[in-house]
């Protein structure tokens, strides 16, 4: 067609445009006019007009559906041959995230078949891989026979991330069950197994986030196997997920996504509980609770977050119900009966919209399933009761605490009623009365009458008190029970005055009836004493504890659980009143009874053991405390599961004992583990998180990791200020800690300004004579020393010493630490000779107060060694530096700068002994390392550098 000019095309377009919209007659006329034209042109024009007339293809908009699919499949289709060490063999599955291939490992001696999950393009590969690297340790540790293992991961040549997973051959959970017409019981057994596997992952702090039947395969032997554990987290960028972004969405399956996932809120173990609940619903009924057919965000959110889940046993669709019954080898009406009641409640509690309303752990869900299978009572709350309670809570936020406390107190007495068979009838009556009473309180509480939340909480309790007299006057059993319940609530709220008044009354009422019910009297006396002890009236509480002990011992014998309870409280009372010897003995007695009566792994037994461990730690027996805490931990893990507040507390206390024992690395690891649990189970600004940050920061400071510690203290300070207010003593502590790590990094002016702030707060709150203020002065002295103001440092240390000697004693390790610092300041101000006696005195006290291998001894050893070296006592100086180095090597990681001062002194001593080459090498190395870590003009670096006078040149 070359040579055809533009004019030809233009003319063609022109004529075509003219004629195309014309009626046929007019068109013929126009064609007639063109008769003289080029016949080719005319033929083309006619042909095109004809094509136009004969239903032309429009090409107006492209078919979006097909376009999406074409591109999507194009993405999936481009298969690399290899993924890391694996050769991809064939596709075996496909999902929203990507495609799964059967693959073989072609490197290494043997052939290994795995599943390789290759992700779609368009994800942020680098971030996914980075998260994979960060999490791989944890995921590789998920060693459970029912969890498919993650074997590796990386990127393929075209940049797409992949994960290699254990190859599982099996059928998706629901279809496997249906194909075998598995009855409800067998389905529940299978489900319980699945829960146990999920729980074991939770114990390692791994939440699945995308549990669904397709991720649970059942193999030929009928064993379930969970796929993709922890993968979802790798694919979602936590920091970016919010309600308005869709980043988090691609890693969940809408049908199984929990409300918090849809809202972009933090994912916790409760998220897996929810998904398991939906799966259980499907396993039982064959249908989804409310399959969201949503196509938009708003619809999805509406369905998942707001559509109420109906009980599994209620369904209006007879056809599908008949099929469901058939698939479960039963009849429709029988299936309905099986589900109604307990199983309804289990499912509804698991899929509650509010994570806090769900089972606290997957384990608790599994326990209820197990209980159902064994015909035991389940723990899931009855819907009506919980609903009333929660509806109330929704309107009155602070009232929550009270309602919760009441419910807890109530449910514990109900549980008691169920388990003590011999007194079952009477207890159950009482429990019913109490329950009815409390429900009545919720119903009567009119929100319109209340003036804010506090008032409501108080009103509720006051109304309760009032009604005890009005309504229960003729039922003294219930009356006493309720006085106890409300008193306990006040105790938990810290309203000791109210609690005390109520219990005083309850005790005198009970005394009248003591002949009939001496145990009830003992129980109330015990509670009264607990209240007094909590309020700090240890001496006043003492005789009441003893009376409770007598009553219980007389009625139940010396080795009963009730006696142990009193012993434990009494121990706590002595502990708080600083009578540590007696407290230790009482704990031991309580523990022996609990262990015999309840078993070693019982919650209560473990609680007493933990108390004793804390006591040992406070008494300076750190090693023993560590051993005991570890024992408590080992016994508690199977009871609570890892992600439990109890475990977080035990770990925290273990960490404290480890840190005091000088095991900084282990302490750090333990605090981190505790924090990890708290992050899963607590709100981000919960005080428990602050505690962890503080303990982590202090441990990092001991390890010389100042930058990391500073960041933590900074965050802690902000959290404390926002949650506690600017003048709370904790704000002062945080300022102190922040100042100390700022000072150690050589920023003296900044540190001193922070210390001034802290000082003002602590003066006003703790007081100038408190041990806490002594710690503040100690830190200030160090900051002054680092700034070169030795006189100022001395003054602060002397003040600190006075308080510490008076409050903590002459032989306390903190007193010793102050003495050591004073000796060092004297060394700086007055020279080596003047300091030696001070160092020796401090060392003697420290050695008495700390284990012999405690790293806190090292600075004193080195100070003394340095002074002795100056005085020419080379042998002892060298021995001291060797000892300090050995201590340090135990406590600090290889490569820590904290080891260098000891090396420097060792080098200088070697020089002084005449081994100049070797000594210089060591000294120069140490000074270099310190310069790098702390800066060349840091006091510690300069101290080391000054030792160079002992070496040649």
């Amino acid at each position: 067609m070359d040579g055809v000019g533009e004019s030809w095309a233009d003319r063609l377009a022109e004529r075509f445009g003219q004629m195309v919209e014309c009626p046929p007659a007019q068109r013929r006329e126009l064609l007639e006019e063109l008769r003289g034209e080029d016949p080719d042109f005319l033929a083309e024009l006619t042909s095109l007009l004809q094509a136009h007339d004969e239903s032309p293809r429009r090409f107006e908009t492209i078919d979006g559906d097909r376009l999406s699919r074409l591109l999507e499949e194009d993405d999936l289709q481009a298969i690399p041959e290899r993924a890391g060490p694996y050769r991809l063999v064939e596709e075996i599955g496909r999902g929203g995230m990507g495609t799964v291939y059967l693959a073989e490992r072609v490197e290494g001696g043997f052939e290994q078949r795995v599943a390789v999950k290759l992700l779609k393009r368009g994800m942020d590969s680098e971030a996914v891989v980075a998260r994979f690297l960060a999490e791989r340790q944890i995921l590789a540790g998920l060693d459970h026979p029912l969890i498919a293992r993650l074997l590796g991961g990386g990127v393929v040549d075209d940049g797409r991330p992949y994960f290699a997973l254990e190859l599982v051959e099996g059928e998706s959970l629901i279809s496997w069950c249906d194909a075998r017409r598995l009855p409800v019981r067998a389905r529940l057994e299978l489900f319980e197994k699945i829960c146990r596997a999920v729980q074991s992952a939770h114990a390692r702090l791994v939440v699945h986030r995308d549990l669904k039947p397709a991720n649970i395969l059942v193999d030929a032997k009928g064993e379930p196997k969970l796929l993709d554990f922890g993968i979802a987290k790798l694919l979602s960028d936590e920091s970016k997920v919010s309600a308005t972004t869709i980043a988090g969405l691609r890693v969940m399956t809408p049908e199984y996504a929990a409300p918090e996932q849809v809202r972009g809120e933090p994912v916790t173990v409760a998220t897996d509980v929810y998904a398991l609940g939906v799966i259980l619903f499907e396993l039982l009924t064959g249908r989804h609770p409310y399959a969201p057919e949503a196509t938009t965000w708003a619809e999805l959110e509406q369905a998942v977050c707001h559509t109420q889940c109906q009980p599994p046993s209620s369904t209006s669709d007879d056809d599908s119900w008949r099929t469901a019954a058939q698939d479960r080898s039963t009849r429709p009406e029988r299936l309905r009966r099986q589900l109604r009641g307990d199983l309804d409640r289990v499912v509804l509690q698991a899929v509650a919209k509010d994570p806090k309303e769900r089972y606290a752990s997957v384990e608790a869900l599994a326990e209820d399933v197990r209980a159902f299978l064994e015909g035991l009572p389940i723990k899931a709350r009855s819907r009506s009761m919980a609903y009333r309670g929660w509806r109330f809570v929704d309107r009155h936020r602070i009232g929550t605490l009270v309602v919760l406390a009441v419910l807890i107190a109530l449910s514990s007495s109900l549980a008691l009623a169920l388990h003590q068979n011999q007194r079952a009838e009477r207890e159950r009556d009482r429990a019913r009365q109490v329950q009815g009473f409390l429900v009545g309180l919720f119903e009567a509480s009119d929100p319109n009458e209340s003036r804010g939340d506090e008032a409501t909480a108080r009103e509720l309790l006051e109304r309760g008190e009032q009604r005890i007299d009005e309504e229960l006057a003729d039922q003294p059993d219930a009356q006493l029970e309720l006085l106890g319940v409300i008193g306990r609530v006040y105790l938990q709220l810290g309203r000791y005055d109210r609690a005390e008044a109520l219990l005083e009354r309850a005790v005198s009422l009970a005394r009248v009836r003591s002949a009939r019910d001496p145990l009830r009297l003992a129980e109330l006396i015990q509670l009264y004493a607990d209240i007094l002890s909590s309020a700090g009236s240890y001496d006043e509480a003492q005789p009441f504890f003893e009376e409770a002990l007598r009553l219980r011992t007389a009625k139940l014998g010396p080795n009963s659980v009730a006696v142990a309870e009193t012993l434990n409280s009494l121990a706590l009372n002595h502990y708080a009143g600083d009578d540590l010897d007696i407290a230790e003995e009482l704990y031991q007695r309580a523990y022996e009874i609990y262990r015999t009566e309840l078993g070693e792994s019982h919650e209560t037994t473990l609680g007493t053991l933990g108390n004793r461990a804390n006591l040992l730690s406070d008494r300076g027996r750190f090693g023993e405390a560590v051993t005991l805490h570890r024992k408590v931990l080992a016994l508690s893990l199977p009871v609570f599961g890892e992600n439990h507040p109890e475990i977080a507390v035990i770990l925290n206390n273990l960490g404290l004992a480890l840190r005091r024992d000088g095991k900084y690395n282990e302490a750090l690891e333990t605090f981190r583990r505790s924090l990890a649990i708290k992050k899963v189970i607590l709100d981000p600004d919960h005080p428990g998180i602050a505690t962890s940050w503080n303990n982590l920061g202090v441990t990092l400071r001991s390890l010389g990791e100042y930058t990391e510690a500073e960041a933590l203290f900074q965050r802690l300070l902000e959290l404390d200020r926002s949650t506690l207010g600017p003048d709370h003593p904790y704000v002062g502590f945080s300022l102190d800690n922040l100042a100390s790590v700022v000072a150690e990094q050589g920023r003296s002016a900044e540190a001193l300004a922070l210390l001034d702030e802290a000082s003002a707060i602590l003066r006003a709150s703790a007081g100038e004579e408190s041990p806490r203020f002594a710690s503040h002065l100690f830190l200030r002295a160090r900051a002054l020393e680092l700034s070169g103001d030795y006189e100022g440092a001395r003054e602060a240390l002397l003040q600190s010493l006075e308080i510490r000697q008076q409050h903590l004693g002459e032989d306390n390790y903190r007193t010793a630490e102050t003495l050591a610092a004073l000796a060092r300041i004297r060394h700086r101000l007055e020279g080596a000779e003047a300091s030696v006696a001070g160092y020796r005195e401090a060392l003697a006290v420290q050695e008495g107060a700390l284990p012999t291998d405690h790293p806190d001894l090292a600075p004193t050893l080195l100070g003394l060694g340095q002074a002795l070296l100056t005085l020419g006592q080379v042998t002892e100086a060298e021995a001291l530096s060797q000892r300090a180095l050995a201590l340090g090597e135990k406590a600090f990681p290889v490569g820590s700068w904290c080891l260098e001062p000891a090396r420097a002194l060792l080098g200088a001593a070697a020089c002084a002994r005449g081994e100049g080459t070797e000594g210089s090498r060591l000294l120069v190395g140490a000074v270099g390392a310190l310069s790098e870590a702390l800066g060349p003009s840091h006091l510690i670096t300069e101290d080391a550098n000054r030792l160079a006078t002992h070496c040649p040149q």
């Binding site: 492209i62 097909r66 779609k120 942020d124 965000w297």
Partner: protein, 196 residues
Amino acid sequence: MEANPIDNSKSAITMILEKATAHDRESLDALLPLVYDELRVMARRQLAGEWRQKPFQTTGLVHEAYLKLIDQSAVPLANRHYFFAAAARAMRQILVDAARRRNRTKRGGGHLPESLNEATLAVDGFAAELIDLDSALDELARTLPRQAQVLECRYFGGLSVEETAGALSISPRSVKRDFALAQAWLSRELRSGPPE
């Protein structure tokens, strides 16, 4: 990270667009590879990222790409239509490339499973159509280049009549006529079987 290439191409695209003039094929050709990669990535993101998304429209993609890639303060408003034209060309290329790959694997018996459901067949048909349309459009461009371009903008870029007019510096009326002509021409060609 992917941020760097995007930033680079942004300045390059902006620079090209700043000096682009109507019918400047060179500028258009220079834009194509820059726009191609970005559009493909954006399409991927949309496909991978959105939850049960309604089939996406190329119109949206092209406009989004414009906002993302162009420093609007540096580019005369009129010139944004050149970008649209380039984007439409790139979309065509992207789709045809995908369709060709799909055809190849089908023939070569690659890794796609033989799940011949209706949806798969529909996409197969779509891919074949795309390839045929592409050849036909090439053919059309030889005799009626402007009309071919109008169809490309309207169909592959999802551009409106006005945007197409702006991109090609012709009147909206001409766009309508050219579009009708191209439609007729393609109908005739494609009806008589795929070109050799």
